[in-house]
């Protein structure tokens, strides 16, 4: 069955029509970008840190098998159970089995993009496991049955009245009380009993350290710490690209993560998990899910350097005006547009075109991923793999032929009648039509530069030569 490509343009158009949401979204994320800039100005070594971070990640990725084995050995020494999952299905099965073995029916978890990738909730819930997200934004998204729209601030596309309405439905609170304090309080009241009674806890991991066999979770709400430590069973889902070789490397990454993401020097909580507490169990599931495949892609492997800070999303003028959900994928924004097609080329074939290729994303990336260059490269790959819409392909093919023939081209732009003879009307007009929806056309002029030049330079030159 042929999958339909995500219609980013249409979803974005709907998002833009809702002015209050759009304005808040754009301003809120722009504010994060501004705060990130301030933090950058406070660290004169910022560009050096970016280079170092990039080098450490590239080195690690180039030696991934060795570092993964080193991590596994050290983690086992620390008493951690280590599992390997080739894909999302295997990850879900492993988690399901661990929970089953412990008779665990309720799972509390902190935010993890990898579990989103694996559709873990959808797998566990029919098997009788109640999964509760403990990150506020992520919980809001769970209650609304939506994917996170941003990898750091998952509900940033919502306004407080949306949350008040949602909480009223689920927590029976006052739908008209949209005060952020009381909304946070409602969530706290609803979440605490679930946390205290949970059978198992799950976290992701921002960094995985090979030399110590430990992993690091960075949050602002402390929810990961509760998820990990309150129940006697902690499962951590870790993407295999999260690795760094040494503890010392964190001195680079921890300094950059929250500065890039939220413009704060550090997250409120930076927790190092080294092994299970007395009387409890700790499992890590190392997830590949397409990463090895991506590592083998010459033009795209460096996207694995990503530390999921979301800075590229915050700065992206297209993302800010289209909202994360318009990408129809777990990963949205510029980084999503270069990662998602590795999961499904056809489905996400539109995403590398949801960009003006302005390059701001590349500049803010703390690990120096050349995001906009990869967007450009993806466009070529998708064209070569015939994943472009028919009309675009035809228009480009016609334009390419026309622009290679000066005489035909001149004829085409000098008179509409001739132009219509040259360019099949349906394609050109249908395709260019959207220009005028919210924009005026350029004003017609009496004379092209070309004919002005012939009249004012070539003729005078000739006269001069004659004399």
């Amino acid at each position: 069955m042929k999958v339909k490509p995500v219609n980013h343009a249409r979803a974005a158009e709907a998002f833009i029509k809702d002015t209050p949401h759009l304005t808040f979204h754009d301003e809120r994320l722009w504010d994060l970008r501004q705060k990130r800039d301030q933090q950058m100005h406070e660290l004169p070594e910022w560009q050096e840190l970016r280079t170092l971070a990039s080098q450490i990640k590239e080195h690690t990725l180039a030696n991934l098998p060795e570092y993964l084995e080193q991590f596994e050995a050290n983690a086992k020494k620390n008493g951690i159970h280590v599992h390997w999952a080739a894909d999302g299905a295997e990850h879900n099965r492993i988690v399901g089995e661990i929970l089953e073995k412990h008779g665990a029916k309720s799972l509390i978890k902190s935010k993890s993009m990898v579990t989103e990738e694996c559709n873990m909730r959808e797998y566990l819930e029919p098997r009788g496991v109640v999964v509760t997200e403990t990150d506020l934004g992520e919980r809001i998204q769970q209650l609304d049955n939506q994917m996170p729209s941003h990898i750091v601030v998952p509900a940033v596309h919502k306004l407080t009245p949306d949350v008040a309405k949602l909480f009223a439905e689920h927590y029976h609170t006052d739908p008209n009380d949209d005060d952020p304090q009381s909304l946070a309080w409602s969530q706290r009241l609803a979440a605490r009993p679930v946390i205290l009674a949970a059978d198992a806890g799950m976290t992701g991991g921002n960094f995985v350290v090979a030399e110590t066999g430990s992993f690091v979770v960075c949050t602002n709400e402390g929810n990961a710490d509760l998820s990990a430590t309150v129940p006697g069973l902690h499962i951590a889902t870790l993407g295999i690209e999260r690795l760094v070789p040494r503890m010392a490397d964190l001195g680079v990454f921890v300094r950059m993560l929250s500065r890039s993401a939220l413009g704060s020097p550090i997250t409120q909580y930076t927790t190092h998990f080294r092994g299970p507490q007395d009387g409890s169990e700790m499992h890590v599931v190392l997830v590949d899910n397409g990463r090895s495949h991506r590592l083998g892609m010459e033009d795209f492997w460096t996207s694995l350097k990503c530390i999921r800070c979301g800075a590229c999303m915050n700065t992206c003028p297209v993302y800010r005006r289209s909202g994360g959900l318009s990408y129809g994928a777990v990963y949205s924004g510029p980084i999503g547009a270069i990662i998602d097609p590795t999961f499904n080329e056809r489905k996400y074939s539109t995403l590398p075109f949801a960009s003006t290729m302005n390059g701001s994303c590349t500049n803010v990336c703390p690990v120096r991923i050349n995001i906009h260059d990869q967007l450009y490269k993806w466009r070529r790959v998708l064209a070569e793999h015939h994943e472009l819409p028919f009309v675009k392909r035809e228009v480009m093919n016609m334009a390419g032929r026309l622009l290679g023939q000066p005489k035909l081209y001149r004829a085409a732009i000098s008179g509409t009648e001739t132009a219509l003879g040259v360019l099949p009307r349906f394609a050109l007009y249908n395709w260019l039509n959207p220009w005028g929806k919210n924009r005026e056309l350029p004003h017609p002029v009496k004379q092209t530069f070309h004919s002005w030049y012939k009249q004012n330079r070539l003729k005078t030159k000739k006269k001069g030569e004659d004399a």
């Binding site: 302005n358 803010v364 390419g400 092209t448």
Partner: protein
């Protein structure tokens, strides 16, 4: 003659949309280079640099246009164009055709007008130029982040701006500073039609930002951005005018 006194044989490239819709920009570029003592020719058989096809991923479809471009311009010391995005394409992405010596010569010697005036001719005065208006400078993403004619806010590097260096030599001109000077205006080539809603929203936000900062004019080295912005401004009723930097430097008063 202001500048270094270098005299070069220049091939003038006038991109299709300037040729058809903004001939004044082409004329100003030509006249300005002539005033600066350059030997300028406009090869009549030119069409396009190949960028629209290449940016759409259809790189093979760009081959004919690129080959024609080289045929037209290989004989010049420098190829100058009043368009940052076209210069960026030729310099950085022009690879649909085999990279012969001729092609390499063309790519190496292609300049966007501002960088040519600033870096090659090193023009230090425009005695004929006067523009008694408040302007907002729009650096296209091609000039800003690819050709690097100005500092980029994301990197926190020391301020520099080649277009500003040139414009400050114009009598009577003053500048408005928008809130988001480096934000893309949303043109993006075919993006402007395939992602119409986002493109137009970015455009109207951009012109409002300049208008709110007090700009009477938006000035840019890229007509394509301005064609889009002008369309957005006119539809949304934002009273602001547009002018290419070549026209101001050539002495346009309004």
């Amino acid at each position: 003659m202001p500048g270094t006194g270098v005299r070069m044989k220049i091939g003038l490239f006038v991109p299709c949309y300037i040729d058809a819709f903004y001939p004044k920009t082409g004329i100003a570029t030509l006249e300005l280079l002539e005033k600066l003592g350059q030997d300028v020719e406009y090869p009549l058989d030119q069409t396009c640099c190949g960028q629209p096809m290449a940016n759409s991923g259809c790189n093979k479809d760009a081959a004919a246009a690129e080959a024609l471009f080289v045929k037209n311009f290989a004989k010049y010391d420098a190829i100058v164009m009043p368009s940052g995005s076209c210069a960026h394409h030729v310099k950085d992405n022009f690879d649909a055709i085999p990279q012969t010596d001729e092609v390499r010569h063309v790519r190496k010697n292609t300049y966007e007008l501002v960088e040519f005036l600033h870096d090659v001719l090193k023009v230090d005065a425009f005695p004929w130029a006067e523009f008694p208006h408040k302007v907002g400078l729009h650096n296209s993403c091609g000039t800003l982040r690819a050709l690097r004619t100005a500092s980029m806010s994301e990197l926190g590097e020391p301020f520099f701006s080649k277009p500003m260096d040139l414009l400050t030599k114009v009598r009577g001109i003053s500048f408005a500073t928008p809130r988001r000077p480096d934000e893309c205006c949303g043109f993006g080539g075919t993006f402007s039609v395939t992602e119409e809603a986002v493109s137009a929203k970015m455009g109207v936000d951009k012109v409002r930002d300049h208008h709110d900062a007090g700009a009477e004019y938006i000035v840019s080295a890229d007509t394509s951005c301005m064609m889009h912005q002008q369309g957005c401004a006119e539809r949304a009723g934002v009273p602001i005018r547009f002018i290419h930097i070549a026209e101001i430097l050539n002495g346009a008063r309004a």
